[in-house]
């Protein structure tokens, strides 16, 4: 019995500091130690959450942001992935494209914001373009290097055992590059949200960033904090999805061994 209580306590320990912080935050704002102009009480953020949920505004904004993020990711990710594959697999392609891509990579994509606003105005294209540019390079780099670093011994072995072309790619090269590709995906999911936050805050008529910026004009501190929390939540969810993919596809990998996944046949 005592052991079980101890175990539960151990499991809850990582949550101790967040809960403590939340509680002191609530108390300090209630006692007036923190001005409501600096930070709203957690209960007020919760109230804003419920209010905006009821009017449907929150869902609308989150949906718009999510759509932008995923569309941009799909476009930029695909381009990065395709070029990564092409340049990793074929030397002439590498000679033609790699240097140019490496040069573009060094432009901070957020520096493009003024230019992008002039090109696309404040429409959807501007945000999607920025997100696409942001995710393109991490996906490209990691795909390219993943393929370049596939064990040459395994490729040679595959060839002697009758693999070539597509079968060599699908059974040896791609699985060999996958852990690196997923690192790129995971990294770019993070960059995707950061880029979208900036893009939405600067120029938007909808989305979470827009919600926060209008709240600023009306001094609705709780809505601003809510918007920040929504971004955090979405970021966390994308990271969980990336981790899920790693667990699913890299079960064989010694660094991704979670529990007894290899006991399928027993």
């Amino acid at each position: 019995m005592l052991k079980r209580i101890k175990q539960t306590a151990m499991n809850l320990r990582p949550w101790a500091i967040p809960v403590l912080l939340l509680m002191s935050w609530q108390l300090f704002t209630k006692w007036g130690l923190i001005s409501a102009r600096v930070l709203p009480a957690p209960t007020e953020v919760l109230a804003a959450f419920i209010d905006l949920l009821k009017t449907g505004e929150l869902i609308h904004h989150v949906w718009v942001s999510l759509w932008r993020a995923l569309t941009g990711f799909a476009i930029g990710g695909s381009i990065g992935f395709i070029f990564g594959l092409l340049n990793g697999l074929f030397r002439p392609a590498e000679m033609t494209f790699d240097t140019s891509i490496q040069m573009l990579r060094n432009i901070p994509h957020l520096a493009l914001v003024p230019l992008v606003i002039l090109w696309f105005g404040i429409g959807e294209e501007a945000k999607i373009f920025l997100v696409a540019v942001a995710v393109l390079f991490p996906v490209y780099l990691n795909t390219f290097h993943g393929i370049k670093n596939v064990d040459k011994g395994l490729m040679e072995m595959g060839k002697t055992y009758g693999l070539s072309g597509w079968s060599l790619f699908s059974q040896v090269i791609f699985p060999g590059a996958l852990s690196s590709i997923l690192v790129g995906v995971r990294y770019s999911l993070g960059v995707m949200w950061i880029t979208l936050i900036v893009a939405e805050t600067i120029s938007s008529t909808s989305g979470i960033g827009y919600m926060a910026m209008t709240a600023r004009e009306f001094y609705q501190m709780n809505v601003i904090v809510l918007a920040i929390l929504m971004y955090a939540l979405l970021g966390k969810v994308s990271d969980m999805i990336a981790r899920f993919m790693e667990r699913k596809w890299l079960v064989w990998h010694p660094s991704y061994q979670f529990g007894n996944t290899s006991d399928r046949g027993k």
Binding site: G153, L154, E156, T160, Y161, L163, G176, S262, G265
Partner: protein
């Protein structure tokens, strides 16, 4: 044992250069069908290079290799190679590694072969969870699935501990007796060579320095009469400073 006198592999004047370094300098070797030949020599003498040339993984700088009378120009389709590090695909389970290049229909056959190498309970394991000896068993099984006429073994036991080596040596001999493929074993262990091979060839200065027939009865063991003398003879040859060409069959039985 059926042994025809057809030359299965024939090499003459084989040279291999890597940049300015000449590894093989006019090597001549003929191997008959079904023969078990061990290739020994100091490290860096070119034994593995020779194996890679026979597999068709590299091309000789000059000279031609004939496989059953045909000059070898691409990958050697009759040969399968087992590498020292096994080279299993870590993302495929044991069974899927064994049927590599063959398709799902080969699964039943693969189970039989895995049983033959003593790994039938671990078919669904990831290679990363196997011991070194088990990995080499999988690599052997994978090679056997292709029913090779020539089996090339590139120091397959080099990384294993003594006990596992002994087990694997027995396994390799049993498989060879059963399947009768022409076998080339590259090893730095002279005892292993004498234990398994019909002929032990020594590479020195990029050439075949000596070619020793091992007339001992199988199954062999290290305390067999004559065993030690042959090992000693080959070791002497390896350590000798001047390379005097000897191509002798020893009289010990």
């Amino acid at each position: 044992m059926v042994k025809t006198n057809t030359a299965h592999l024939q090499m003459s004047g084989i040279e291999k250069r890597f940049g300015s370094i000449k590894v093989l300098k006019g090597l001549d070797l003929t191997i008959h069908e079904g023969e078990f030949v061990a290739v020994v020599g100091k490290s860096g003498c070119g034994k593995s290079t020779l194996l890679r040339l026979i597999a068709g993984l590299d091309k000789p700088s000059s000279g031609t290799i004939f496989v059953a009378g045909e000059p070898l120009t691409t990958l050697n389709r009759e040969a399968r190679i087992v590498f020292q590090d096994g080279r299993l695909l870590p993302w495929k389970r044991v069974l899927d590694n064994v049927i590599l290049g063959l398709g799902k229909s080969a699964k039943d056959e693969a189970m039989k072969v895995l049983e033959d190498v003593g790994l039938v309970e671990r078919t669904e394991e990831w290679p990363g969870k196997l011991s070194g000896g088990q990995k080499q068993r999988v690599a052997l099984a994978r090679a056997l699935m292709h029913k090779p006429k020539i089996l090339l073994l590139d120091e397959p036991l080099g990384a294993l501990d003594a006990l596992t080596r002994m087990e694997m040596q027995k396994l390799m001999e049993r498989l060879w007796l059963k399947h009768q493929f022409t076998t080339l074993l590259v090893t730095h262990d002279v005892e292993e060579a004498v234990l398994l091979a019909d002929r032990v060839v020594l590479i020195k200065d990029g050439k075949i320095d000596s070619d020793v027939r091992v007339p001992l009865k199988r199954p062999r063991h290290k305390n067999q009469i004559g065993f030690g003398a042959i090992v000693e003879h080959i070791l002497q040859q390896i350590l000798e400073k001047k390379s005097e060409k000897t191509s002798a069959s020893l009289g010990y039985v």
